[in-house]
């Protein structure tokens, strides 16, 4: 999502200023108002939300619902609680953008949220993060996938803040499936990722893919776990590509089996750029930095 689209988002928050565009069949409210209007939302919020959005998709829509949370002023601290509900049988696309408009705003962005896919719902959610080098970011999301629902979640960190913590918990009930991909282009950052898929329901499935590039002064700690609690299938795929000598990476893949009819597999690797690939691209006329850029972008997209 580019900035032009971001300005036209259905829910925008610039520092603390909110703008909402109405969509037929979708209820969009600030979380605080949603809690006042719908008592049942209390079970999803942790106390009274200060900021954040409530998006309730009730009818089929043919375009993506978009959100944009920006830090635009110095030392702003956002504290968001978000709740997204996709009603039964709907196929929906969501695009979320979280960013700092400038590189040196020293902003804070704390976001927690729940995303609930009701039975047979399908959600494709692309979530983009572009931060300034002095920002501090904490995000904590929980996805609940009800029976037969399907989630495709792409979380892309285009530029990392000074410090970032990402927690993601995905709970899959019967026959639901989750495909999660977390991509990080990491530089001058201290990044911690904790992502868990829990396959609770029979015939549920989960794939968790991590692609992390470590550039200058990137310190990355990532714990990824798949837990099976029923007859189901999971796969974990963690790959790290350190391209600078100061990059440090710890990838910890964990497989937890609580049902002997389940199957979990994993692949994990951390490795430098292949010299052969570099030489190959140079024989196509690319210089070293162009070749590295192409390989890194390919790695992140794979």
């Amino acid at each position: 999502m580019d900035m032009k689209n971001a300005e036209n988002a259905n829910y925008t928050q610039k520092d603390h200023e909110i703008n909402i565009t109405k969509i037929e069949g979708v209820e969009i409210l600030p979380s605080k108002k949603a809690m006042e209007k719908y008592e049942w939302t209390q079970e999803y919020f942790k106390g009274e939300p200060k900021e954040g959005y409530f998006i309730w998709i009730k009818e089929q829509i043919d375009f993506p619902v978009t959100t944009c949370m920006s830090i635009a002023s110095k030392s702003v601290s956002q504290n968001l609680q978000n709740l997204i509900i996709i009603e039964k049988g709907l196929k929906v696309k969501l695009q979320g953008m979280c960013n700092s408009i400038k590189k040196d705003l020293c902003g804070g962005h704390t976001a927690s949220g729940k995303i609930i896919l009701k039975e047979n719902a399908v959600l494709e959610y692309n979530h983009f993060h572009t931060w300034g080098k002095e920002d501090i970011v904490n995000t904590d999301y929980e996805f609940i996938l009800e029976k037969n629902s399907k989630l495709i979640y792409n979380y892309k960190i285009h530029s990392t803040p000074k410090k970032m913590k990402l927690n993601a918990e995905i709970i899959c009930l019967e026959n639901s499936s989750a495909k999660i991909k977390i991509i990080g282009d990491c530089e001058n950052t201290d990044l911690e990722i904790n992502d868990n898929i829990t396959l609770k329901g029979k015939n549920s499935s989960g794939i968790l893919k991590l692609r992390l590039v470590g550039k200058e002064n990137a310190k990355i700690l990532s714990r990824s776990r798949i837990t099976t609690e029923a007859e189901c299938k999971g796969h974990l795929d963690c790959q790290g590509l350190p391209i600078h000598k100061t990059a440090e990476m710890i990838l910890i893949p964990e497989l937890v089996c609580k049902d002997n009819q389940s199957q979990i597999t994993h692949e994990a690797s951390i490795g430098k750029i292949s010299e052969e690939e570099l030489n190959y691209l140079k024989t196509r006329g690319l210089n070293e930095s162009e070749a590295i850029e192409l390989i890194v972008n390919g790695f992140l997209e794979d």
Partner: protein
């Protein structure tokens, strides 16, 4: 003259591999280079490409009269040198079309070359068949609009139909357009399609034979092996 190699000596690690190579290729000429395993063919290709793993210990490489012996790879390619790889690596997540868009110096429509454009939307060399790899290499070098192309075993692993197809493309897109070509080959079948002007035989790091009649050289190698070439008995009376 497009390429002139003068007394080129190359080592890899501690081992001397090329021991004084001399080769001249004029604009528009097609040459072939034969040689047994470990004769130095791939070393020659990688040295011409500027691969830093190979150390030039003597001699010169001139490209269009310019000494490129110490130039980095990408500079050589920009000057018009192009090279296909015998075993090209996989580049994960990078579609062939993306690379072609990035490097292309001419408007190349794969369908005009009668090649399956399906490979364009796949990651470079990932799960490509042997034939698809060769087509991918061909598309890349043609798109560079080169002055000289070095084909490193472009014919290996191809059946006769695919070999004919690859040869037709090389002829139509390069040879007929006055591009110089150096074909490095093991079995020589491709030469029946490309009809090189000069055939060179590389043995033990040296070119020991330079002939114009490729049929004669092929026949000699097939019948008597490279031992005959070592003794340079091509013109001698057969036993």
């Amino acid at each position: 003259m497009v390429l002139e190699i003068r007394d080129l000596k190359v080592k890899s690690g501690e081992k001397d591999i090329l021991k004084g190579i001399n080769l001249k290729i004029n604009q528009g000429e097609t040459h072939a280079l034969f040689g047994p395993n470990a004769s130095g063919k791939s070393t020659l290709v990688q040295t011409l490409a500027g691969n830093p793993r190979y150390e030039v210990t003597g001699g010169k490489i001139l490209f269009n009269g310019v000494d490129i012996t110490k130039l980095p790879t990408e500079e050589r390619i920009k000057m018009g040198l192009a090279i296909t790889w015998q075993n090209p690596p996989t580049i994960k997540g990078v579609k062939l079309s993306k690379l072609l868009d990035k490097i292309s110096k001419r408007d190349l429509k794969p369908e005009e070359l009668e090649v399956n454009s399906g490979i364009l939307n796949r990651n470079i060399n990932q799960n490509f068949s042997g034939g698809e790899k060769k087509i991918s290499e061909l598309l890349q070098v043609i798109s560079l609009n080169p002055k000289l192309v070095i084909f490193d075993e472009i014919d290996s692993g191809l059946d006769i139909k695919k070999l004919e197809k690859v040869s037709k493309i090389i002829k139509k897109e390069l040879i007929d357009k006055n591009v110089s070509v150096l074909v490095i080959t093991h079995n020589g079948e491709i030469l029946n399609f490309l009809k090189p002007k000069i055939i060179n035989v590389l043995v033990d790091g040296k070119i020991i034979c330079e002939e114009t009649d490729y049929g004669k050289v092929l026949k000699t190698i097939k019948e008597y092996g490279y031992e005959k070439c070592r003794k340079c008995e091509l013109h001698a009376e057969r036993p």
